[in-house]
Amino acid sequence: MKLNVITLLLMLTVVSLAGCNKKSNPAPDANTTFPQIISLIADHDSIKVGGTEPSIITCIASGGNIIYTWEVDLGDIFPLNEEGSQVRFTGSDCCLGEKYIKCTAANDKGSVMDTALIYIYIP
């Protein structure tokens, strides 16, 4: 019985240890203001399906200490700079049609969001 319990515990430990993660909260900053998106610009508002002709999208926000977050329902976004304010967007055959790319700018005072519309087509 002792061996049985040890076997069980060992297997559970292996799986549970793999999921440990640490998160830290940023300290409030007196020099920041509520963020505002000044511009959200895509260099192409329609792109060919595939990876060769991306749309480069740039989001500029004010407020200080801005953290940018990008998301889209279907399609592929990759960051182009360390700040995270510029990304490239492409889509494979899964992602044809209108795609809304969402840029969220956030700091310790709050967050604001805007979307860019890109159309993916088969030439």
């Binding site: 799986v15 940018y68 977050t69 990008w70």
Partner: protein
């Protein structure tokens, strides 16, 4: 006891298919604990049933592990629970970008019942039901970018899976044949961030197993997998999703010290038909390490061999 497992998926989020098609090694009061490692690799694009030179994702792979516990409540009724963890789920793109995710996948709770047992003919029928809970990570980021659904460790969706397994044993159980089928229905993901529904999934498998030298079991499985197209936030079908696949899966299992076993399987797709152009699976292989624990040692169970003196 035979273990059969079928795993190979290219780009679906959540745990890969790891339903054990066999009745497994659990009789009444028997607990089976098993640890799985699975590697899957995909790099070939198909259009319809033909290979294409099209490249978008260069290659994609995942390394997955799961812990599964199943317990025989009665001689006929077995319950099971499984939790999955992706050590790595990665995509490398043809245009020079990579992305990775890791973390807990889904949890599966299931029940299987031996509804029909014909001892003289050695035929058994096992209906089953599994419920998938998306307990794992569904918000992984690549720097400032929220990763898309196909690379998130968790599927993000509640799923319901109904299955049926029919087994027939020959030569006192040395040779056995199995026919199994299951259908999986996913609930629409409807969160602030995602609105998506996976296509329904259907599997039909035929397999045979042979036990030799007492401890070795080999099996060969042929599995058809049909996945319907997914639907997007407008509830419209997404063209380049879903398809039909035929897999050939040889496998071997070695049992030692009566209650311990280790198994290996290799899954190879021998036919693929996809809607639109899609990245498809090249191969998958897995190892499973299992331990049966008898909580009714005083009683002789259905699966327990008599002690030789």
């Amino acid at each position: 006891m035979l273990y059969i497992q079928a795993d190979a998926q290219c780009c679906a989020a959540g745990n890969p298919i790891s339903a054990d098609g066999s009745p497994g090694g659990t009789g009444k009061n028997m607990l089976e604990v098993s640890l799985l490692y699975l590697h899957s690799y995909s790099s070939i694009y198909y259009e319809g049933h033909q290979k294409t030179d099209y490249k978008y994702i260069d290659y994609s792979y995942f390394d997955f592990s799961s812990l599964r516990v199943s317990y025989g409540i009665t001689k006929r009724l077995k319950v099971r629970a499984e939790i999955g963890y992706f050590f790595s789920k990665a995509q490398s793109f043809d245009f020079g970008y990579d992305r990775k995710a890791n973390g807990f996948g889904d949890m599966i709770l299931g029940v299987q019942y031996n509804v029909y047992q014909n001892t003289p003919l050695a035929i058994d029928i096992f209906p089953s039901f599994d419920f998938t809970l998306p307990v794992g990570k569904f918000d992984q980021m690549n720097g400032p970018v929220v990763l898309p659904i196909d690379i998130q460790p968790s599927s993000g969706s509640f799923k319901y899976n109904a299955g049926l397994l029919v087994s027939k044993r020959f030569m006192n159980g040395k040779f056995a044949t199995f026919l199994s089928g299951n259908a999986e229905f996913s609930q629409r993901i409807n969160t602030e961030r995602t609105n998506y529904k996976y296509g329904n999934l259907y599997n039909i498998s035929l397999y045979g197993s042979y036990t030799f030298l007492r401890n070795f079991t080999t099996a060969l499985q042929v599995r058809t997998m049909i996945r319907d197209r997914a639907s997007d936030n407008n509830k419209e079908k997404i063209n380049a999703t879903g398809g039909t696949y035929l897999f050939l899966t040889p496998q071997v299992r070695y049992t030692f010290f009566k209650y311990w076993s280790v198994g290996f399987l290799f899954e190879y797709p021998i036919y693929k038909y996809v809607n639109g152009k899609q990245l498809t699976n090249d191969y998958a292989f897995s190892f499973r390490f299992s331990r049966n624990i008898n909580f009714a040692k005083k009683k002789k169970t259905l699966f327990e061999e008599p002690v030789k003196r």
